[in-house]
Amino acid sequence: MTNISDQLDREDSRVRHDQGIGGAVRAFLDRVKSGDLGMLPVFIGLLLISVVFSSLNPVFLAPNNLVNLLFDAAAIGLISLGVVCVLLLGEIDLSIGSMSGLASALIGVLWVNAGLPWPFAVVLAVLAGAAVGLLYGFLRNKFEMPSFVATLAGLLALLGLQLYLLGSTGSINLPYTSTLVKFGQIMIMPAWLSYICALLPGAVIVYTGMNTNNRRRAANLSSPGMSVVFAKAIIITVALVFCVYYLELGRGVPWMFAVFTVFVIALEYALRRTKWGRSMFAVGGNAEAARRSGINVRGIRMSAFMICSAFASLGGVFAASRLASASQQAGTGDVNLNAIAAAVIGGTSLFGGRGSAWSALLGVIVIQAISNGLTLLNLSSSLRYMITGAVLAIAVIVDSLARRSRASHGRA
């Protein structure tokens, strides 16, 4: 064991260095106090929602209801994942709902009406989304058009295209026997696979934690110690195994949600561990600084809009497979708001430069839980809209207050 003050990053005696589990907890409390809330609002929100709704209607926490909740969450979650990308840059896309509706119409037209194989139709729908994103990026880069205006125009234009494609019939039913519809309605992961997936994150945390620890020690940097890593891995593993066990009491874990989770993990990796992700945060934090550092700011913006619209399309495909139809109503109503609210509730800032892919997953569970609970209470959609609107407003207020607090505590 090297003497602590010999380590490269431990030379400055003015700084308190937190060690071990106690230190990790203390650092976490400090962060929360300074307004760096992270995932905390989500867990508090979920706790509140569970208590309130299950006391009003015990069905809310029944395993099968939660399975349904996950089925419903996947589509909005995917859309929200794209929203995270544009929010990171401090931009917004208001046309995600219309884009998802257009994608479901494309599936109906290309697959059912034109007879293309469904995977092909899905790929075309996602490509159409990427093309729309390309257009938004172009408008933003070339004409400095604020993204909320460009995408507001897109909202209407894409909705028009969706209505045009669906024509006079207004909706196209997707065949129930097809894989795509089964995927959206009944396909469940085998129990053994669910349990393996529940164990995997803990194993990955221990493995990478050990790796990082060893590398840091070899490089003469302080290492956080394995106790924190093990504690984290144990908490996460226990939580996940419990979730899977509980869901297995009902139908089990939907494939749809598993696929969504894979996309979340992929995006999280891209944002945290690649140069592209670092550039996204840099552009969101200070675009001029990013430009002078040699980052292709226009390219990064373009990529974010393309990813956003492509995820919106894929979300639309998921929604169509969930409903087994492509209709004029797809993607309208509260889809836009829910997807943006999910990202913000999960902790992605509307002001750019802060966020994570996990916020889409956690946020969408909160949003879906609210919507599911209100449906169980037999509330009309008028009340549901009002309540969801209020939740979004609260999420944005929390975001703004946390931002102000971070600024006064010297954190970005």
Binding site: D12, A219, K275, A290, G353, R354, R411, A412
Partner: protein
């Protein structure tokens, strides 16, 4: 790699820059050697910023030659200047406040783009900061939590990351307190001792005379003499304003009369 000490790195001859009818720079001569601090002083509108921008590749000169290590070059974009080894620390620093020190240092030049090598980047960050004897409490804190002087340090360290031959500092001490100014001046001397050429722009004559090996005065877009740090304050002011009888000397004289 840095050049041998004293070797001539940058040589400007007859550099002119016109913006339409306005001649911003005329027949500028400038030499920068390895391991020396050249201060660029002059009044507002003397052409300091234009000259810096020409060297940073932002503006292209209308006339004249720029020689880099004995070879004529054209600096046609900021990228070319960076590749040659001319780094610029802008007055507004251009740091991302939401990212930590390591991310800012390596922004745009991350090690291992597809799987960022955080450990190696952190080691290099600490090594660089230690060479500069810089006092940054933690490289994993966001820039937002650092003081003005510490930010300046990070900006200077970042410009050194690609191991340039020359670094240009635009008003590095303008917004800093007494102690922090001293820190930055120490930093400039350490950068010089590492064998880099330094071009320093400042309005603060005290700072300039403290660290500069040569003081190049610009006036109305032209060279107006080269001085050393032994030159008196009055002489420098005279060169900057273009007359020994100027507003500064008149003010001094008036104050002296009042004192008597």
């Amino acid at each position: 790699m840095t050049a041998d000490k004293g070797e001539l790195i940058l040589k400007l001859r007859g550099v002119s820059k016109q913006f339409g009818a306005v001649t911003a720079l005329k027949d500028i001569e400038l030499d920068v050697h390895a391991g020396e601090v050249v201060a660029l002083v002059g009044d507002n509108g003397a052409g300091k910023s234009t000259l810096i921008k020409v060297l940073a590749g932002v503006h292209q000169p209308t006339e004249g030659t720029i020689e880099w290590c004995g070879k004529p070059v054209s600096l046609d974009s900021p990228g070319t200047a960076l590749e040659l080894g001319i780094a610029t620390v802008f007055q507004d620093l251009a740091l991302c406040e939401n990212l930590d020190v390591v991310s800012n240092l390596f922004l745009g030049h991350e090690i291992n783009p597809w799987q960022l090598d955080e450990v190696q980047m952190e080691v290099r960050a600490w090594t660089l900061l230690r060479e500069l004897a810089a006092r940054i409490p933690s490289v994993r804190e966001p820039i937002a939590s650092l003081s003005g002087g510490q930010r300046q340090t990070v900006a200077i360290a970042r410009s050194l990351l690609l191991d340039p031959k020359i670094i240009m500092l635009d008003e590095p001490t303008a917004a800093l307190g007494v102690a922090q100014t001293a820190e930055v001046l120490n930093l400039i001397e350490r950068v010089r001792d590492r064998g880099h050429g330094v071009i320093l722009i400042s309005h603060n004559m005290e700072d300039v005379r403290a660290v500069a090996d040569r003081i190049v005065v610009l006036r109305l877009g032209q060279n107006n003499g080269v001085f050393t740090n032994e030159t008196s304050h009055q002489e420098l002011v005279a060169a900057i304003t273009g007359a020994s009888e100027n507003s500064v000397s008149r003010r001094m004289a008036r104050k002296q009369e009042e004192a008597v």
